[in-house]
């Protein structure tokens, strides 16, 4: 379980996009070797307005606009990371990771291993992930499972603004490459965030709602939906669902996850990635292998169906898992 380092406990309300700015600024103030690059991130403050003010505070030497060259962006981050800097690179939409997947999956992820540990890649690739904004199939994917499948990458996806600040700080301080998935549907959502320096811990899941009857495992934008579903289940049919925010896919907090599932005997994963080879599949195979005897029934996976994402509002809403689908699936499984 995660422990926050908090220098004080007063709180401020802010959006997830504000939290991202705050997290980057916190780390850039602390460490001169932290630099930040990406398309339209400097003068314009990012297309999601998640990085305004950084150019003004840290100047064009540390906050850099790039050409539309995703391979050069992450490649430059990699080369800089292996020679003394700690770059944060933005890939505007996570779909575009495909454009630079060789650099991410074949170079950054493997080179430490291939060289027998001679080089390291202390870098963060931040990216806007997920659907809900009616952007269609090339700007809405959840590709956290792509990253999880590649040995050598750490993979984080916060569901709250406080987690965004703290996990981003942890990612920047981590000596290994971290893919940091910010969910674009959460950017405008407001959260209470403790003031002061926040530093969280990678590889830690969080029980965000206690419950006795079943355990819902969710990530990023699926966490608030799982919480709504849990309330609805409690209110309508008296099912008491625990909700675990997985937060980190690599490292995976298997201890918290196994314990949480063992306590209820029933597990439902809520994944935004399309069905095949999603993170939930991995977690289910882990659970059956490790706590088979504690399972009272088959694990259930709720995912985006194995289709690209449609753009029309009604279609997108029918595709991405909703609180209603979670409620129905849990109800069906438990009755």
């Amino acid at each position: 379980m995660a422990e926050l380092t908090r220098t004080e406990m007063t709180r401020t309300e802010m959006t997830l996009r504000d939290a991202v700015t705050r997290g980057i600024a916190q780390e850039m103030r602390r460490d001169e070797s932290v630099v930040f690059l990406g398309e339209d991130v400097a003068s314009a403050g990012g297309v999601f307005k998640a990085t305004p003010g950084l150019l003004a505070e840290f100047g064009p030497r540390r906050v850099r606009d790039t050409p539309i060259s995703e391979q050069a962006i992450v490649g430059a981050a990699a080369g800089a990371a292996m020679t003394g800097l700690r770059p944060i690179a933005e890939i505007m939409f996570s779909d575009f990771l495909a454009v630079c997947w060789d650099i991410v999956a074949n170079q950054i992820a493997k080179t430490r291993y291939m060289t027998g540990g001679q080089v390291t890649f202390p870098l963060v690739i931040r990216t806007a992930n997920g659907g809900g904004l009616r952007f269609g199939a090339q700007h809405s994917q959840s590709v956290e499972n792509w990253a999880m499948a590649v040995p050598g990458l750490k993979v984080v996806a916060p569901s709250t603004a406080a987690d965004a600040v703290g996990l981003l700080a942890a990612a920047v301080r981590d000596p290994d490459p971290v893919l940091f998935f910010e969910h674009k549907a959460l950017y405008p959502v407001r959260f209470e965030v403790p003031d002061g320096e926040l530093v969280d811990e990678l590889g830690t899941a969080k029980i965000v709602r206690e419950g006795r009857d079943c355990t819902i495992l969710a990530l990023a934008a699926m966490v608030p939906k799982a919480l709504v579903a849990a309330d609805e289940l409690a209110a309508s049919v008296g099912i008491d669902a625990m909700v675990v925010d997985v937060r980190s896919l690599v490292p995976l907090d298997t201890r918290t996850i196994c314990e949480a599932v063992a306590r209820t005997g029933m597990v439902v994963t809520v994944e935004e990635n399309p069905r095949l080879c999603g993170w939930g599949a991995e977690v289910v195979s882990l659970l059956t292998e490790e706590i088979w005897a504690d399972l009272d029934g088959p694990p259930i996976r709720i995912t985006t169906p194995h289709v690209p994402l449609p753009s029309a509002a009604e279609l997108e809403d029918a595709t991405i898992p909703s609180a209603t689908r979670i409620v129905e699936a849990v109800r069906k499984a438990l009755t």
């Binding site: 398309e39 904004l133 952007f135 269609g136 169906p305 009604e314």
Partner: protein, 338 residues
Amino acid sequence: MTTERTETRASGPADPARRLDLYRLQVELRRFEKRAYDLFMRNLVKGTSHLSLGQEAIAAGVALAMRPDDWTFATYRGHAHTLARGAPMTPVLAELLGRENGLLGGKGGSMHLTSAEHNMMGSYAIVGAHLTLAAGAAWSAQYRESGQVAVCFFGDGATNIGAFHEALNLAAVWSLPVVFVCENNLYMEYTPIGSVTAVPRPAADRAAAYGLEPVVVDGNDADAVYDVASAALDRARRGDGPSLVEAVTYRHGGHSRADPGTYRPDEEVEAWLARDPVTAYRSRLLGEGVEEAELLAVESGVDAAVDRATEEAIEAPPPSAEAILTDVWADGGSSWRN
């Protein structure tokens, strides 16, 4: 081929009826995009969208120079290119609104307009990729000796991505019948192209790297665009290989619906607004002796069509949810299992 030096001798289509078509098309693109903008403002368009306001002369000039069986490949800024190939307004507008009668059944939205029926082979929203697809279509034309040409539109920003380089080289080596048209509107999203590009002309200054001639054209002059496009299409059809055309222009509004475009200096915006391609073409036709009444008739005809499309789009129902599980595979379904 036309280069910067010859720009001033732009003649455009000789036939007066075609000249009027060229005007009509520009007016149609202009008024459609303005309507699209109004509908955003009324919050009827969900998602994002990217307008071609100010860039109409390129879409119109190239499209009218093309053969009906030539192919168009465009970016997310593709409304104009889709309409210019003959796709009717109603399904295009309905697609922006995410309606059942949308061009893509509500599955693609503004960024992916496609009308295979009109050989408009798609709008692609990840910068660079579609240049390679256009090269592939051109390969198919060459292989089948069909005489078709693929025309591929992209922005100035796309010239710095890897796929641009690979597509241009392959097209040149295989002498493919493809015309690459860079719509250089001076900006990527919010960043000026000059600040992230090693050469002043992002496309033309790269032509030599593929053994091609640099071609720059005034993208706000439909006749000049028409001339350059005709020459490039001829060249491709003759078997002389690809062209890389840089059409210099400016977008009147922001990059996408969310963007007011305030990062651009006022004087720059004003100077370009003063060079409005649609107004300029209107004046030119009047100067050539076309009756104003004729132009007014064109304009009101277009307005009526835009109004009708708006109504037909707004009144249509949303797509039904079953649609999410269709069209992944050629059998119409999406099943990954038996």
